[in-house]
Amino acid sequence: MNVLNFAHAFFSDSAHWHGYDGIPTRLTEHITYSLEALLYAALIGLPIGLVTGHYGRGGNALALLATAGRALPSFGLLVLMFIWIGFGLLPVMIPLVVLAVPPILVTTYEAIRSVDPSPVDAARGMGMPEARVLFQVEVPVALPLILSGLRTAAIQIVSTATIAAYVSLGGLGRYIIDGLYQKNYEKVVGGATLVAALALVTLLVFWALSRITVSPGVRRGG
């Protein structure tokens, strides 16, 4: 049996389409964990990235932090947090957020830093307050890059959120982990396929988001 057969078998089994272990439930759980983690990561990463980028300071500290964040193995962190904190969503959220903050933070910082300085100078020179300079001049131009940082983070979260299943939570990881224990490869392949599909959907969502939010004056060529 090849992978396609596994996948076909998994998705055509009607038992997988309802109940607490059904695809809709697991998918909803997975999306909920992912969105929650992305929200926290953005709440941390965006403001720090925007402010440091605007004032052009703290680049080195950020790079260090980002490298450290990326170097931490998510699974190891999960186990550590689980032992430390115990059951619950929190031990899952921490490694996901640690994973997602660096791309958001560093890309946002770089995006704001790389905005052409002359419109910024013009904006200040005509008496625009600093907050407006940031949000009305720098952010609109930096938006494509900022969104790409969020997209990278989102995709990493979606693929990594499978680890939630290790600590008895739901999500698409359930299929992969249970399948491995039960030597039910249909389930493993089905779960993996769903995760991959969700990652692709995430890409699509960000593409649509940037079509809607980025000004046509900025979008050209990109």
Partner: protein, 382 residues
Amino acid sequence: MIRIDSVTKRYPDGTVAVDRLSLEVPDRAITVLVGPSGCGKTTTLRMINRMVEPTEGGILLDGTDIRQQPVNTLRRSMGYVIQNAGLFQHRTILDNIATVPRLLGTPKKQARARAAELMERVGLDAALARRYPYQLSGGQQQRVGVARALAADPPVLLMDEPFSAVDPVVRKGLQDELLRIQDELGKTIVFVTHDIDEAIKLGTMVAVLRTGGRLAQFAPPAELLSAPADAFVEDFLGADRGIRRLSFFPSAELELETEPIVAADADAETIAARSAAPYLLVTDADGRPLGWSEPDRLTAGAVDTGQLLDHGRPFVPGTDSLRTALDGAVLSPTGRAVAVDGEGRAVGVVSQQVIGDAIRAAHSRAAGAADAAGAADAEAVR
């Protein structure tokens, strides 16, 4: 009036950008700050809208220290134009221009109406209103930059090398446009450039700064050319300042000869009557110059226009300066310049000798005026 009062800008590393500079910027005129790079001209400009704070000294606007009011209020009362325009690429042309009125709380609709008005004033096609900056040429972008600075109708306009990034032809167009707008609006303009020709063309007053941020000379452009304060200014003005000074002398008083002009279809009698002149200027039926010819080479009734010598670039007496007239005479193979009216019809010719006499007369008149002014000053001192 803007009074720059003994202003110094020293950076923490000890570099002195501007050194005890004092300058009185006249109202409703263009004051140009010019000098080599590192002379502090941009720093001086940026101190006027407090983009840079002076280390010592102060700047007065209509007698009040500019630090008396909130910095953003000050900046909104001064238009600011920079090199490369610095347009907001995510906003349409119309919304770029409407920026300052919007900052000042003007409703969107009104601000856009005002922006449309300004597009017309700076010579931008209304069709560009909904475009984005990247869809415009460099020259058009710079016009938008000027329109944006004028949008809130500020009494003061600060311009930092606004035209230095565009090609010479576009630059000349922008300069002429600025002079035209200034004729209409009468703003107090402070203009920074490194191009002395631009300074002389645009400036009512020109401040030449030297490296280290010290004032070398502050004078009207004609005076700068006739009496540079020192070797630095003379050197900075460059070669042929004598020729360039002629731009300030009108050509209206040149004595034009009308004798040596003949129409292309002139008969033998007319040509013979005028053959005393070494060259005759042949014109078409409308009186526009075609070219020069020696009288004995002309065939009556049907001139072969292919045989004519090029007449060079004509000048318009009264509008053009002696410089243009002299240029026309120098370019012409016959040593004579052609004077035309507004429609391009030949109204006379003038030789290099006559232009030379006019230049000497203009020089002695200018010297007389300077002496009189000097005497008046001396009188006043007494």
